[in-house]
Amino acid sequence: MLNNAMPLLQRAGLKQTYKYLLLPVMGCALLLLLTACQNADKEPIKIGILHSLTGTMAISEKPVVDATLLAIEEINAKGGLLGRQLKPIIADGKSDPATFASEARRLIKDEQVAVTFGCWTSASRKTVKPVIEQYDSLLFYPLQYEGFEQSPHIIYTGNTPNQQIIPAISWSNKHLGKRLFLIGSDYIFPRVANWIIKKQASILDMEIVGEIYQPLGSSDFDSVAREIISAKPDVVINTINGDSNISFFKALFEADITSSDMPVLSFSISENELAVIPEDHSRGHYAAWSYFQSIDSHGNREFVRAFKTHFGKQRLISDPMEAAYIGVHLWAKAAQLINSIDAKSIIFRLKTITMEAPQGIVAIDLNNHHLWKQARIGKIVAQHQFETVWQSESSIQPMTHPLGILQDDAEHYINSLFDLWGQQWSARPQEE
């Protein structure tokens, strides 16, 4: 009897101990479970960044990558998006439209990115567009461009012609003169831009005294300079892209064409391009953008300080960089509001989103996925900076079809260029 009773008693004692242990243990388990539930789904959100890191466009596009990364880091520093960190996946478009398309496909299909920020040239955007649309994905395009395009899957954070070209020509009409000389690289943007400018010039009774296109990457502008001198324009409208601008301004400088005689109004020269053009060559000329690094506002000072803290004091900031930076923040705001990173829902929600960008208030247009932006004209001053000489009263509504130009006419013109260039978005480089 005694021998049987003892273990029973011991067990009873143990049971008592368990009872006292059970509550705290259960409490802990409950807490763990709760935290586990909250911590679930914490893997980072992949963000595609698609720009040329090599090739002729790399010099322009690399800073845009940095601005995109800055916005991503800012979001991550504030705890990420929806409790998840953003993980940038950077792809190299190698300044080649075909590579842009294949890399976009890789980002979406293989990397499963939630959104892609990228492209610079219209040529690269036009090859990436069908890929983005095919996979119902989302692209933020940070550059000013020629317009006449819309995609339910692309948010254009750069300027449309009515936010850059048209105000600039109007301003030029009032302040510089009526005789325009058009010079541009031979690809889609300069061709279409000048097509619009010619229409505007006719409305404003302006005169086109010359129109020349040089292949992308060309460095021979001596003959161009001679032609400009002989045409005697009031203003040279420059849509040359990339490092050709170095040769162009050098040729003008050497031909003694000064900014006071024949100012150049450029649409593709930002602070970053100025860095490689000698100050003597560029000083006093003009450029039209939404954003200049020199804008004196609280928002811009913060942005410039943040960028320089991240990437170095000597770094310059340009309009496309700001546009890329805005794009990331707009996307994150929309995702935050709908608590999802689903591309379609974000696109819809973006339509009610505005933000105080470094350049001022920006908003996405209800109809065409472009940004309401400021228009500014800057005069080139020292240290690769612009001094704003004119700016729009408020944000300008983006228009993909300026001056009442019909889509059919635009498409017809654009397609004829595409055919002319042998199913390319730019003229073939000159044979050596």
Partner: protein, 668 residues
Amino acid sequence: MHLLNRFSDLPVRYRIIFTLIVVVLISEVSLSFFAFKQFENSMIAESIQHLRDIRSNRIYSVRTELTQHIQINDIFSSLPETAEVLVAYNKLPGNRQTPDKSGEAIEHLIHHLGEQTGLYDLFVIAKNGDIIHSAKKEADFNTNLLTGPYRNTALAKAYRHAINQLQTRTSSIAFYMPSNAMAVFIASPVILHGQLLGAVAIQLDWKSLADILGSITGLGKSGEVVAGVLHGDKAYLAPLRHMPTSEMDFTVPMGANLAGPIQDALQGHVSSAFDVDYRNIPVVAAWGYIPELEMGLVVKMDKAELMESVQNMQQNAIMIVLGVMIGTVFIGMMLARTISSPIDELTETTLAYADGNMEERSNISSHDEIGLLATAFNTMADNIKRYNQDVIDKNLKLKAYGEELEQRVEERTATLSAANEEIKSFAYIVSHDLRSPLVNLKGFTGELDYTLKEISEKLASIKDKLEASEQQEMQKLIEEEIPESMGFITTSVEKMDAMLAAILKLSRLGRRELVLETIDLSETAESLVDIHRHQLQETHSRVDIGDLPCIRNDRMVVEQILGNLIDNAIKYLDPERAGEISISAVSRDSGIAIAVTDNGHGIAESENDKVFQIFRRGRHTTVQGEGMGLAYVQTLARAQGGSITFESQENLGTTFTVFLPCIENNEV
């Protein structure tokens, strides 16, 4: 720890109730707190989400509405009638308005469009700024927007933008004097065949937009939509519920600690938070920006209304906590009773048992832990009872054995002491009584000597009478043989006398009464060693006397013991090497052990048994002695309950250790 100990001192039932209350209270309060927080958070999150949704919907609706109007205006600008009337007007010298066919057509069109779309007014404006057609024909009609009285109105600004930038422009919302109301304008250029002809504009009634924005559907009792625009450094507000007829005449300076949401909205931010509104009342708000109108929009709800439900929930939670608390105390008491009453009962039983009532047993028969404990207690009590009986029985037996044993020991001891006394008296008798005949033997031997001298004298007188040979023989007998024999006898008698004296001494030593005094062992040893100083110097030996204590004992006994041991040690030193003798003592509780160590000849193992026998001596015949030393030492030691032992190695040396027990005074 102290508190815990005091808690352990409390009766079980209080501990159970207390523990239950604490555990339930903690879990309940933490759970209800958690649930309440969750509820509060989700309430707030839900409300904010709700306000955000309304905010987004309103902004989307207004923007859609505006977009439609922009499209209408675009169509309006591209209608052939519009172009026609502008072309006609621009052609006129001096730009004078004359009613003609195209004028009628456009008038009709404007009226029709206005009716169809609900627009407040429509305008056709010439390239030079003249308003040439208007549906309402208010004061602005026929004035010039570049030079006329209304050149600074929103309509004029929109017109200028449309003309200069060749694109449609929506004006921000502002008071429009000709209509005496707030208005929004959309202006578009009219371009035909690459020619700018002029512009068209439409006027939107602020009221129609405010109706879209200001609907309070889904905003509860205190919900409100506030629209605001920025002019200079002041925000002009239209609180669309609390001041329904407002014309945006409520101003808040930018940067003021008032109406934070609208100020933030006017800077282009889309957000939501708790803040104070234009009335300085705490609200929960969601806000955004309408770019077309450059207008901030705030959808808000008083925090008090939101918190009302939270407070209700809080009260409910407190009531539930209290209810559960009371229930817990009640259940705790019941539970405590079922546990503690059998424990009390068992405790009583155990206490009675502890007081000596070995027949006390527990009556608890439940099957729980307490029941088991009670059963175990009863079993234990039974077992203790049985063991107790066994122990008593065994004790009795043991006592009997003990008594018997004691008796036997006593008997044997008596026999033994009798035998011992017998031996002692025998030794005494032998030594004492044997001396008498020995004295006689000695005496008569002296007598014989004397007689022999007489004989020798007598013989000298008769010397000449004898022959030379006889004389020689006689002389040899008397002078050599007899004295030789006499010498042997005398020697033997003396030897025997000495032996008897020794035995007598031994037997006396054994019975000697001790005279206790304090003896300094070091001093004693030194004086004893001093006796041999000369001999020690000769043999280059030395005696090392350690740190010896003072003891209380009989001086004669101690001197005898030490003396004999030192004598022995010196005697049996090996002449081949320098002698080294050490004397040491170790005090113990029970007595003192005195050791004398030498490096002399040592004792062969075969002699170990004989060391303490009387008249036994070491094998080294060169050494003088009567062989009684160690026997005395042993006798003296034993006489006071001590002992002597030795350790030896032949040719290396010997250690004799004498143990003398402490002697109490009263024993003497």
